[in-house]
């Protein structure tokens, strides 16, 4: 008996996690998938209606706004974060005095919750009392900056706050990557007559490809899951102009008693993540021989 226990202890220890994983991850995903095929509203009800919820979803103008916003948000958030992160990392890598202190400053927003970030930026961007007032006090009496309450511009305030929060992290990833690059490569390039800029562009950046790749995956992941930031900064408003799919899902599943529709939107989000994740995991696993 004791022997049996001892021999199977590893499996016994991992059993609760396995069970939780099967039920609460894969089981729940399946459950949500099935729910999205029913006409459930307030409560789950198992009357299957095929893809009707998905059709309703894609006929819903609010969902299209959320998807368009996600596209704008993902592209701008990733591109701007990558540019700022890379620039700061390269500059910080030039044997800078007080590098540690500067790095600490760049990275602290990552320790803060999106709710706090959203609250802070909501105040900074406040039409009337925020940035607008700074410029008016400086003498630009007609200066206007009210993106927070403008239909077409609200989504860009989300981009600003998200970049502020995450670009320091991208910097840290690139800096770690740069520190891993062999100095001799750069020296060799310089001996061959390349300028600093050229040696970065032609020698170092190509080596950093995996870092770009990881950063893009992580930022995409943050973007798709961004829910808190929208909730705190704009509340999805004005109207639903700055909704992202995560906010759409929450609103319909929990506030509007449209479970089936909410489930369908969640499943689409899952597929979105998978589309990014599978190529990433594939390349990660291929690089590492088992």
């Amino acid at each position: 008996m004791f022997n049996f226990l001892e021999r199977n202890l590893p499996k016994i220890i991992i059993a609760p996690t396995t069970l939780a994983m099967i039920v609460c991850m894969y089981g729940f995903i399946l459950w949500t998938g099935l729910l999205s095929l029913t006409k459930s509203r307030m409560m789950p009800q198992w009357e299957f209606v095929g893809l009707e919820q998905y059709i309703r979803l894609f006929q819903n103008p609010r969902w299209h706004v959320a998807l368009d916003n996600l596209l704008i948000f993902i592209v701008l958030f990733i591109v701007i974060s990558l540019i700022i992160g890379l620039l700061l990392a390269i500059f910080l890598d030039q044997k800078i005095r007080a590098e540690g202190a500067i790095r600490t400053v760049y990275l602290y927003p990552m320790a803060i919750s999106f709710i706090v970030t959203g609250t802070a930026w909501k105040w900074i961007l406040n039409p009337g009392l925020g940035i607008e007032k700074i410029f008016r006090d400086m003498g630009f009496a007609n200066f206007e900056f009210r993106w927070l309450v403008e239909q077409d511009m609200a989504i860009y305030t989300i981009v600003i706050a998200a970049v502020w929060q995450s670009s320091g992290f991208v910097m840290a990833m690139f800096l770690a990557g740069l520190r891993g690059v062999d100095d001799n490569l750069v020296k060799a390039a310089k001996i061959d007559g390349a300028s600093t800029a050229k040696s970065y562009w032609y020698v170092i950046l190509p080596i950093m490809r995996p870092v770009f790749f990881s950063a893009i995956v992580i930022l995409t992941h943050i973007a798709i899951k961004s829910f808190d930031l929208v909730q705190a900064l704009t509340g999805g408003g004005p109207g639903y102009a700055s909704d992202l799919p995560a906010n759409f899902m929450y609103t319909f599943a929990f506030n509007r008693a449209q479970m089936g529709l909410g489930a369908a939107s969640a499943i689409i989000m899952l597929f979105g993540v998978l589309a990014v994740l599978i190529p990433y995991l594939y390349s990660e696993l291929r690089e590492r021989p088992a």
Binding site: P10, A111, T119, A120, S214, L281
Partner: protein, 289 residues
Amino acid sequence: MNINKIFHINLGRTLIYLVLISFAIIYLAPLYVMFSTSLKDIEEIRSGNLLALPNDPTLYAWGKAWSSACTGSECNGLAPFFWNSVKIVFPAVIISTIVGAFNGYVLSKWKFKGSELLFGALLFGCFIPFQVILLPMAILLSKLGLSNTVSGLVLVHVIYGVAFTTLFFRNYYVGIPTELVRAARLDGAGFIDIFRHIFLPLSTPIIVVTLIWQFTQIWNDFLFGVVYSGSGTQPITVALNNLVNTSIGGKEYNVDMAAAIIAALPTLIVYVFAGKYFVRGLTAGAVKG
């Protein structure tokens, strides 16, 4: 020629410092604005501007944010919710870290048939958008009688945190030579002995990384908090959001800012004192995930 070159280099370096310092100011500005706003009275906020230092600093907003601001229908400030978060965070962090340590130990040094597949399947859990499990989890919690309870939230955080903690420990333990395990087994040491006498003493750095990562994640969580908590059990992030969006009487931006700093303080303190581990957790969780 030579002078020109020196000049050129200095110009370049000056530019680099200029850019680095400008960005440092940009990153710090919101914190400064929050802080100075929280020390002003509402009159000064309306008449002055964001960047001005408070003329006559007052702690009024801090007192109100902590103990009497309205977060929806109640007006007891953030204090009760701060303690809710503490009650959620500590058990959830400790349990998920312990479970992750054992899982990582098994998945790195006691592999069995299918354990790699198990790890891959678990890894996937770090990436799923939680929207896809929100609805069934709500139903499971209500079946278990844990809806709107602190225990329910602890359970949810443990379940979905274990994927990360396991990943951390597994990747760390993979680097410990398997020969150590073999030698110890030849000497008759068992599963638990080897963990206690060999792995645990080597684990301090990864334990710190995991604790900090989990603490930050769970303290900052909003999604699970807003979906699975009730009026008395909301974590601080949900309460902060309610406070900011409650407008009984006039809008008090100073109170909003004091409340936001209160909500951010625990993780900021951890970051300031253990930044090194924090960064390591971020990159381990992210790059290797």
